[in-house]
């Protein structure tokens, strides 16, 4: 299976169909995966594909604008590519999407704390309600040899969001202020996010300074809220921000809340159709207005 992948990468590079293949290689610990960038045929041997390939590689696409890129992408990664296409951040003709059938990736955080093998380690929480093993968009598909029989577990995707919604206003504020108080403002959530491509982030801006740059109640709260609203109708829930967060803020519970609201209010889901206009770049005359006096 991995052989098919390597052959395809070799073929693409040999035919000069792409300048670069973005994929996964084995990390130096011999277990985990690491992103790799392959621009000569001989290096294609490094490529791997298994459940350790947790990263969403589409975050690197913005670094290679104007080049022909081959990218290995899971179903969720392809969704983020679709959003980037919707927002004119990429040209479809510059991309060769090597889709991979994905039975769900491992839960990296839990693996770090145990020495169990993959078979025993659970799938990442984000993968459990996901039923889309095959990417929505690809130029070539690497098929899973043995059918892993990916079934979305009977798992309410918005379970944790609903639990929070059921709490009182004061409890929710206390909860989020507590979570945000741990934020060290490393911006790992931003760096790892394929949707965060602004050349100058509002968090780094000095004129005007939207919120304090130092850690503290005000700045931490503002940063986390800002990050979330900038992802409204764009986040495809690849879960990379939560994975990258060193202090374990449940960022997916924020992203999913907005995702849920957007679905309820506008019947819109991010990352499904590259032809459709982005949510906040259009409107509908029948949009909900019950909150306006």
């Amino acid at each position: 299976m991995a052989e098919d992948l390597k052959n395809k990468a070799r073929e693409l590079l040999r035919a000069r169909q792409v300048d670069l293949v973005i994929g996964y290689k084995r990390a130096s610990d011999g277990i985990a995966a690491a992103p790799c960038f392959i621009d000569i045929e001989g290096d294609a041997d490094k490529l791997i594909w298994d459940a350790y390939c947790v990263y969403n590689l589409s975050v690197y696409l913005k670094d290679f604008r104007g080049k022909k890129i081959g990218i290995i992408a899971k179903a969720c990664d392809v969704k983020s590519i679709i959003v980037l296409l919707q927002e004119n951040q990429l040209k479809r003709e510059d991309l060769f999407i090597i889709g991979v059938e994905c039975p769900g990736v491992i839960d990296e955080k839990r693996l770090c704390f145990s020495d169990r093998q993959y078979q025993e380690v659970d799938r990442a929480i984000k993968c459990r309600p996901c039923a889309s093993a095959v990417p929505l968009l690809y130029d070539w598909l690497l098929k899973e040899k043995e059918k892993m029989g990916k079934v979305s577990e009977d798992h309410d995707k918005y379970d944790s969001v609903r639990k929070l919604e059921a709490k009182s206003l004061a409890e929710r504020l206390k909860f989020w202020e507590g979570e945000f108080s741990r934020c060290i403002r490393c911006y790992a959530c931003r760096q790892v996010c394929p949707m965060c491509y602004c050349p100058k982030c509002v968090a780094d801006q000095a004129m005007p300074a939207w919120f304090p740059k130092a850690t503290g109640d005000k700045g931490n709260f503002s940063w986390n809220v800002t990050r979330a609203i900038h992802l409204a109708g764009r986040c495809i829930d690849c879960g990379e921000c939560e994975r990258a967060c060193p202090v374990g803020i449940p960022l997916r519970d924020i992203n999913k809340k907005i995702e849920k609201d957007v679905k309820e209010l506008f019947n819109y889901e991010a990352g499904l159709n590259a032809e459709r206009k982005p949510l906040l770049s259009c409107f509908d005359k029948t949009d909900p207005a019950d909150f306006i006096r």
Partner: protein, 140 residues
């Protein structure tokens, strides 16, 4: 604390609501002075960051006001605003921010009366919500 008066920031569109508020003055309708008005070209100009910054930096409430749907000077600015702030409104509530602190209203240039009534109600509601303690403020 009993002398506490809420501070409300109002983002008013230049074409309708600002003129509406102006009309309330011209008509000599009395309403509470708790609102600080910031004139913007259109309700579509308002960035969610404006609202966030106000609430973080000491405002007890924020109002966004613009032309009625269909009356926008730029035809569709308020449609975009409506979409954006429908999401923000629900999101703020999820974070535990009192929904009374963030409000939106359409006020036309002829609705000086509506404007004065709106501010009276708004000030009353925000008084009930109490001082905003977001952003680590301990005082009122």
């Amino acid at each position: 604390m009993k002398d506490w008066e809420p501070k409300i920031v109002g983002f008013l569109c230049n074409w309708c609501s600002y003129a509406g508020a102006d009309l309330a003055g011209t008509l000599r309708i009395e309403y509470p002075p708790n609102i600080k008005i910031i004139r913007v070209p259109c309700s579509g100009r308002v960035n969610p960051l404006f609202v966030l910054k106000c609430l973080m930096d000491g405002a007890d409430g924020v109002l966004i006001s613009g032309c009625h749907i269909g009356d926008c000077h730029y035809s569709e600015g308020n449609f975009y605003a409506r979409r954006r702030f429908a999401i923000l409104k629900r999101f703020f509530e999820y974070l535990g921010i009192d929904p009374r602190r963030f409000q939106m209203s359409w006020v036309s240039a002829s609705e000086g009366d509506k404007w004065a009534k709106l501010i009276k109600v708004l000030v009353e509601e925000i008084k009930q919500a109490g001082p905003n303690k977001l952003g680590g403020r301990k005082d009122g």
